[in-house]
Amino acid sequence: MASFLFATLSIICIGAVMGMILFKNQAYSALCLILAFICTGGLFGLLNAPFIAVVQIIIYAGAIMVLFIFVIMMIDVRKGLSPEKKRWFLYPSIGMGVIFIGELIFIINRALGPSQTLASDALGSPKVLGRMLFTKYLYPFEITSILIIAALVGAIVLVKKKDTP
C-alpha cells in the first residue's frame, strides 16, 4: 500500500513539476505547482508527518500559491512574455541537470544504500511538534517572527503606492 502510494505520489509530483516547467502559461504552471505541493504533502503523510503535511498543503498550496496567482493575474502575461531567444541554452542546462542528479544519487547511494529502510514510529503530531516548537525550538521560532516582520516591511515598502516619500 505504502509503496503504491509512494510510487503514485512521486510520479504525479514529478509529472506536475515537469508540467510546471513545460507550460508556457504561468497560471498553468502555478496550478501544476499546487498539484506538486499537494503530492509532497501526501508523501509527508507517508513519512509519519501528518502535521507538516497539513501545514504544507495549507500554507504552500493554499497561501503561497494564491499569492503567486494574484501576482500572475496582476501581470499582463502576453505583454510579459516575448518570443524565445537562446534556445541552445536548454541543452547545457539539461545536461548539467543530468550530471547533477547523477552526483546526488551517487551520494545518496553511497551514504545509505537501498537496504536501509524506514523503521520509525515517531509521529509528528501537532501536540508534540507544538511542544518542541515552544521549548527546544523557541529561539528559531522567535526568529521566524522577526523574519516575517522583515519580509512584510520589505514587501510593503517595495510595492506601496506612495511613490515619492
Binding site: 546526488l104 551520494i107 545518496i108 553511497r110 551514504a111 545509505l112 527546544k136 523557541l138 529561539y139 528559531p140 526568529i143 521566524t144 522577526i146 523574519l147 516582520i149 522583515a150 519580509a151 516591511v153 520589505g154 514587501a155 510593503i156 515598502v157 517595495l158 511613490d163 515619492t164 516619500p165
Partner: protein, 477 residues
C-alpha cells in the same frame, strides 16, 4: 550561563527597528534623519550591551544563542558598521529620493540577521538568521524605487539568493541526515564516529560552502555581486560589501574551525576551498581590471577580498581572518562613503571618468578615498597591509606557499585598478567639472572614523588585535 540578558543586543536593535517603523507612521516629516538618529541610539545601546558582556559568556535558549567573545566582537563590529552605514545614508536618502522611513528599519533587521548568524552554532538558526538578513537585503537593494537598476538589482539578488538558499538548506538536510542534528559540534562528532556516511557530510559541507559562498561572493558563485552592488543604493552597497560577507565568514569560521581542527579526511574540502580561493582572487581581480563604474569595480574588489579571506580560513588562522574583516569594514565603508560624497541631488557620480581631477577639486575626499584604495590594495602603513600581512604570514607558516604566491600576485593585479582610480583623481584633467553637495557632516564624520580606523589598525592595532585574539581563543578548538 543561561541569562535572559543575553538577548539584550538583539532586543535593542529589534526595538529600534520597530520603533522606527512606528515613528515613521506617526510622525510625518520631510527628512527622516531623526529616524537615523533613533536607530543610532539603539545601536549604541546594543553596542554597549556587547561591550559589557565581554568576558561574561552569556547564553540563552539552551545555548542556542551563545554570546562568546567572538560573537560579541563580531556583533560589535557589525553594529559599528551599521552605524556607519546609517550615518552615510542620511543625506544620501534625501538627495537620491529614497527617503523611506522603512529604510532604517530594514537596515536594522538586516543587522539582526547578522547578529543571529554569528551568535549561534546551530545551522538552522544560522540559516534563519541568514534569511532575516536576506529578506531585508532584497528589499533594501530595491529601495530606489524609481531607478530601474535598483529594481533589477533587487530581483537578481532575490532570485539568485533564494536559489542559493535552496542549496544551503539542502546541504543542511544532508548534514541533518547523518547526525540527526543541526548543531555544528554534534555534526562533527558524529562524522568522526560514523565514517560510512561521511560522503553525506562532505556533500553537505560542499552544499554549505556553495550556499555561504554565494553570500560571501566566492567565484563561481559571485556572479550576482557586481550587478547587485551597482544597482543598489550606494550605502546599501557598502552594507552588502561588508556585513553579509563578514557574517558568512564568521559562519565558515565556526564551521570549518572544528572541522579542520579535528578531522584529517578533510583533504577534499580543503582542496576545494583552495581552488575556490584561487579562483576568487584571480578572477575577481582580473574582472575588476576593465571596470569603468566605481561601484562595479569595488564589487569585484570585494570578490577578490573574499579570496584573501579564504586564505585565512585555509590557514586556520582565525585571528587574521577576524582582523582582516575588521580592517575591511573600515576601508570598504570608507571607500563607499567617499563615493557617496560625490553626489548631488538626484545624481551620483559613479563612472571612473567622473573622477577625473577631483583629487584637487575636493582634496579631502580625494585624499581619503586614495588612502582607502591604497589600503584595499594593501599598501603599508594602512590597515589593509597589516590585514594581508597577517593572513599571508599565517598561511605561509601553514605551508600554503603556492596559495600565498598566487595571492600576492593577484593582489598585484589589484594594485593596478585601485591605482587607476587614483590616476583618474589626480592625474587626469577633469572633463566636465561638477559641483557636489559638500554639506554633509555625518558623512565627513564617517570618512574620518574610517580613516582613523584604517590608519590606526595599520600602524598600531595593539588592543584591537588583542581583543581579536581573545575572541578567537574563545572558540573551542
Amino acid at each position: 550561563m543561561n541569562n535572559i540578558w543575553t538577548l539584550l543586543p538583539i532586543v535593542f536593535v529589534l526595538t529600534g527597528s520597530l520603533l522606527v517603523l512606528l515613528l515613521e507612521v506617526f510622525i510625518q516629516r520631510e527628512t527622516k534623519d531623526y529616524l537615523g538618529f533613533v536607530s543610532l541610539m539603539f545601536l549604541v545601546l546594543s553596542g554597549a550591551a556587547c561591550v559589557t558582556f565581554w568576558n561574561k559568556g552569556y547564553s540563552y535558549f539552551n545555548g542556542d544563542l551563545f554570546l562568546d567573545k567572538l560573537a560579541l566582537f563580531l556583533s560589535l563590529l557589525f553594529i559599528i558598521g551599521t552605524a556607519l552605514i546609517i550615518l552615510i545614508s542620511m543625506k544620501y536618502l534625501s538627495l537620491q529620493n529614497t527617503n523611506y522611513g522603512e529604510y532604517y528599519s530594514l537596515l536594522l533587521f538586516a543587522l539582526i540577521g547578522t547578529l543571529i548568524m554569528v551568535s549561534s552554532t546551530d545551522l538552522i538558526i544560522i540559516f534563519l538568521g541568514l534569511e532575516v538578513l536576506s529578506m531585508s537585503s532584497y528589499a533594501l537593494a530595491g529601495l530606489k524605487r524609481n531607478d530601474e537598476k535598483s529594481g533589477e538589482a533587487a530581483l537578481k539578488y532575490f532570485l539568485l539568493g533564494s536559489f542559493a538558499s535552496a542549496f544551503l538548506i539542502y546541504g543542511i538536510a544532508f548534514l541533518y541526515g547523518t547526525s540527526k542534528s543541526t548543531e555544528i559540534f554534534s555534526i562533527i562528532d558524529h562524522f568522526q564516529a560514523v565514517s560510512s556516511q561521511s560522503i553525506l557530510v562532505i556533500a553537505g559541507f560542499g552544499l554549505l560552502i556553495i550556499g555561504f559562498g554565494f553570500k560571501i561572493a566566492v567565484v563561481p558563485f559571485h556572479m550576482w555581486t557586481p550587478d547587485v552592488y551597482q544597482g543598489s543604493p550606494t550605502p546599501i552597497t557598502a552594507f552588502f560589501s561588508v556585513l553579509p560577507k563578514a557574517a558568512g565568514f564568521a559562519v565558515l569560521l565556526r564551521l570549518f574551525g572544528p572541522y579542520f581542527g579535528q578531522i584529517t579526511q578533510s583533504q577534499n574540502i580543503f582542496m576545494v576551498l583552495w581552488f575556490l580561493s584561487v579562483l576568487t582572487m584571480v578572477a575577481g581581480n582580473l574582472l575588476a581590471l576593465r571596470q569603468k563604474n566605481i561601484k562595479r569595480l569595488l564589487a569585484y574588489s570585494s570578490i577578490a577580498h573574499a579570496g584573501y579571506l579564504m586564505i585565512a580560513v585555509l590557514a586556520k588562522s582565525h585571528y587574521s581572518l577576524v582582523f582582516y574583516l575588521t580592517v575591511y569594514l573600515f576601508m570598504n565603508i570608507g571607500a563607499f562613503s567617499a563615493v557617496i560624497a560625490l553626489s548631488k541631488k538626484d545624481k551620483e557620480y559613479l563612472q571612473l571618468k567622473d573622477y577625473a581631477g577631483i583629487g584637487f577639486r575636493y582634496p579631502w575626499i580625494g585624499a581619503t578615498l586614495s588612502i582607502f584604495l591604497l589600503s584595499l590594495a594593501g599598501f603599508p602603513p594602512t590597515g589593509g597591509f597589516l590585514a594581508k600581512f597577517y593572513v599571508f604570514s599565517e598561511a605561509v607558516s601553514q605551508d600554503l606557499v603556492p596559495l600565498v604566491v598566487i595571492g600576492v600576485l593577484a593582489s598585484l593585479i589589484s594594485v593596478f585598478y585601485y591605482l587607476r582610480v587614483i590616476v583618474y583623481m589626480y592625474m587626469r584633467e577633469p572633463s566636465t567639472p561638477f559641483e557636489i553637495d559638500t554639506n554633509n557632516a555625518p558623512l565627513v564624520l564617517v570618512l574620518f572614523i574610517c580613516l582613523y580606523g584604517v590608519i590606526q589598525l595599520g600602524i598600531y592595532p595593539g588592543n584591537v588585535l588583542l581583543f581579536i585574539k581573545q575572541a578567537v581563543a574563545s572558540l573551542p578548538f
